[in-house]
Amino acid sequence: MMDILSKTEEIVEKAKAFGADEVVAKTTFGKYRQTRFSNNQIDITVAWNDYITDVSLAWKKRVVATQINDFQEIDAKIDRLLKLAKASKENPTFGGYAKGSFRYAKSMADKRLPDLEDPSRLILEAIDAAQEKVGSQIESGGILFTGFEDVYLVSSEGPIGVDSRSGVELSIRVFSEREASGHGVECSSTLAGFEPSRAGAKAGEVARMARGPKAGDEGVYDVVFDPLIFGSMLDVWADMVSAFSVLIQSSVFVDKLGQKVAPEIVTLKDNPGAYSLANRVFDDEGMPTRETVFIDRGILKTYLHNTSTAKIFKTETTSNAGLPFPEAWNVEMDPGDVSRDDLFKEVKRGLYLTNTWYTRFQNLAKGDFSTIPRDGIFLIEAGEIKQSLRDLRISDNALSILNNIVAISKERQHVHWWGEAETPSLSPYVLVKDVHITKSR
């Protein structure tokens, strides 16, 4: 372990000796395993081992980066990187890397994760739980992923740290009929409390309710978002609150600092806490990670920053480096004061949406977008689910959705899913009024 840290230090020292002004090297030794299944059977198990050092350096504000595989050819690669820096162009907005010496929290990573003896057992637990809800005649597919990383970071500006990061997630989609499906996810940083059956039961229950769907109607609806689909919305806002998205105007939050962007019941935070798939004790500059409230009771308080973007906006880093661009780690929405069941009761006539995919924007600054709900889509009348629907699309605006939140559940779920909910989140059930729904003609 110390040997890897020493070699990472050696890279930084060599880069400084070759003339770099500032250097950050991050070595990741990772073991990742994924089992994929479909039609209730294992299709493949994939294992990949990764031994990589990411090196970022600046020379006279020329910012360059490379990767070194398994500490091979360090001298040649650093020499080449410096030559590249000298041939490159100045970035006047480069603000340096984080400076200082820090104490980091203790990692809570689960060392059992990289080499589970029988990962298919966890998948079968999920499938069994789905079958208990909807019967044995189902088609199910999904993944079980485990990852474990040892991370060693050394910066010429002072930070030096060792971290271990782990994650386990199970995603299962269940079809009870060709056009009736449900999706469940179970995500955690450790095996403690990880219950695949929870995801299977959720997918099975939604698939059961989704049987016999009818074509839905266009219109403006009050919509209950399930934590899974709301995780996709949190992913959208997480991308948009990165200072880099603001700089390139790929964000509805441009010029809105200090302004009301949501009702008072909405508080959104970034927090790569120990429970989350994004668990980490330092960011990619070596800053200790922390909780950052970016929407506080409806008011946009800050963008997410690394050192360079913070200087552009004349503020402090939020420990979201990301080199060269800041990124959200894990978005949490504060819980509301109603139960899930009471939230449904507030809907006279509306929809319950459980999952979505293919979210695309007309204009990221204005926020006009559409996305296609999949899996269970349900008509709610007088607070109760009345009918399964299909073939509808949300065609609305990212800022309007945020503004039109009227209720948030007490219950929250840790969500991460392929494609649409890439930023892990802690997501509740959310009621949004006046959501525009369209369909094919």
């Binding site: 994924q34 089992t35 994929r36 479909s38 039609n39 059977q41 294992i42 299709d43 493949i44 198990t45 994939v46 294992a47 990949w48 081992n49 990764d50 990589i52 970022s56 020329r62 360059v64 980066a65 490379t66 990767q67 595989n69 398994d70 990187l81 590249l84 820096a85 490159s88 100045e90 970035n91 029988d118 298919s120 088609e139 597919g141 993944i143 079809f175 999706h183 700089l247 390139i248 105007q249 790929s250 060269p324 661009f325 293919y358 695309r360 924007f361 007309q362 204009n363 990221l364 600054a365 559409s370 296609i372 999949r374 073939d391 699309r393 392929w418 494609g419 369209t438 369909k439 094919s440």
Partner: protein
């Protein structure tokens, strides 16, 4: 690349009780940079090099990869893949469709070698985009330009005796701009891609294209009128034809999707055994023929052999309006009782090869674009699009026009603001009554797989004319 080590890994795999094994080494020299408002943010240069092994044993598949080039590591990943293959405990064993043994080397030629282009020249070339935009008379409030080159060397060997070396240089670019006018903003982007050398830059002429886009966007902002919703004739430019071909012809014809292997991620297909659509079913008019073809020279999705060692060829997906041929890898082909048509691609040594498109496009007809327009009394011409999506069975899709015009009495008139087509695959392709003769391609990045693999592809086609489409 240490081919001896890869041969050693295959030999070690053969010493186990495998039904099949393959080893693929892949080295990628990657160079890329980002300009924000013409200023360089960062330049990245790296060599990503590793290898993988895929094994069939006891009817299951195991896959393992590493970027540590040692014999010990090679044995370790073979052991892992073997263990995981045997642990699958499938009811029905996986097998691969029969394939010929191949020994070959293939290389894509470069007229101007990417390796010979200095970082200064690369940055300077893309700096020209911002210079052109700054002087075009349109207020541009933000730009983002990205360039990425990759020099991909692969070495593939399997237990059937195939041995294939390949080298494909690729260059990709992306430009995103925000235009401001009368207190409002609109955005557009262009993507470019090519397999070959730096000569691509001359062919693309990105500054001119982006200036055109900026002016067209301003024109829409200033003069564009909203559409009165209703049925109308519609002409789709090659960009719109291409995205529709990719989304509603290419994706639903992927056999792994049809068989359910992607059910939890990218989804399934409206085409399935026992359903209303299968090979031979009509899905479009007679004039609609959509192909996927990896052999288009210098295309972004070019390859000569796929990542299972199968020779690439053109696939006729929809032929004269009929569902014709699925995209297959060896696993899906065996399940359906046919042969692979070379559609198996992997983007990295870390990822399994899966069924992918390469270059998907509508074949041309005989009319000129002008002749297509002349025969429209009242309609809309959508030249390019912004927001788009399609459901995961690939049937309900939506395209929102970016540059679009009214057609009146056979002539293009005023711009139209954000016309929206929201329709089904069947309705879209059945009402195509004419196809122009000039095919144009656009580069795109196609996402599929878990972990997601972003594949370089072309989509494209000629202009197509649709009759009586609901536009809003």
């Amino acid at each position: 690349m240490d081919e001896d080590l890869l041969d050693y890994a295959l030999g070690y795999a053969q010493s186990r009780s495998v039904e099949y094994a393959e080893v693929r080494g892949q080295s990628q020299v990657l160079d890329g940079f980002v300009l924000r408002n013409g200023v360089l943010e960062e330049y990245v240069s790296a060599l990503d090099s590793g290898f993988c092994v895929r094994i069939i044993a006891r009817g299951g598949i195991g896959f393992a990869s590493t970027n540590r080039w040692t014999k010990k590591e090679a044995r370790s990943i073979v052991d892992l893949a073997f263990k995981y293959a045997r642990a699958a405990r499938r009811k029905d064993a996986i097998s691969f469709a029969e394939e010929k043994r191949v020994e070959t080397e293939c290389t894509v030629a470069q007229r101007k070698s990417i390796e010979d282009v200095s970082p200064e020249e690369r940055i300077s070339s893309f700096g020209e985009i911002d210079k052109a935009l700054a002087s075009c008379g349109v207020k541009i409030t933000a730009t983002l330009s990205q360039c990425a080159t990759s020099l991909v060397s692969k070495y593939f060997v399997n237990t059937e005796g195939s041995r294939i070396s390949s080298f494909v240089p690729r260059i990709g670019a992306y430009v995103f701009i925000t235009v401001a006018e009368q207190g409002k903003t609109e955005q557009t982007h262009e993507q470019f891609g090519y397999s070959g050398g730096w000569e691509a830059l001359d062919e693309w002429n990105i500054p001119e294209k982006m200036v055109h886009d900026a002016k067209a966007l301003r024109n829409v902002m200033v003069k564009g009128k909203a559409v009165r919703p209703g049925n109308t004739d519609l002409i789709c430019g090659p960009k719109v034809t291409g995205i529709a071909a990719h989304e509603s012809c290419g994706h639903p014809m992927e056999a792994d999707r049809i068989l359910g292997r992607e059910m939890s991620q990218a989804g399934r297909s409206f085409i399935y055994n026992g359903g209303p659509y299968w090979i031979g079913t009509r899905i479009g008019s007679d004039v609609v023929t959509v192909v996927d073809d990896p052999t288009v020279a210098h295309s972004y999705g070019y390859y000569a052999f796929d990542d299972e060692g199968v020779k690439a060829r053109r696939r006729y997906l929809y032929k004269n309006g009929l569902i014709n041929e699925f995209l297959h890898n060896r696993e899906s082909a065996a399940k359906i009782g046919t042969r692979s048509n070379g559609s198996s691609r992997s983007m990295s040594y870390q990822t399994e090869p899966i069924v992918r498109m390469a270059n998907t496009f509508v074949l041309p007809g005989e009319l000129s674009e002008e002749e297509l327009v002349e025969d429209v009394k009242q309609g809309i011409y959508i030249k390019s699009f912004t927001e788009w999506n399609i459901d995961d069975k690939r049937f309900n899709q939506r395209y929102v026009g970016s540059e679009a015009y009214v057609i009146e009495k056979g002539e293009l008139k005023d711009p139209v603001a954000r016309p929206v087509i929201e329709t089904t695959t069947l309705k879209f392709w059945m009402v195509v009554d004419a196809v122009s003769k000039k095919v144009e391609f656009d580069a795109a990045s196609c996402g599929k797989g878990d972990p997601e693999q972003i594949a370089p592809v072309y989509d494209g086609g000629p202009c197509i004319r649709l009759r009586g489409v609901y536009v809003k």
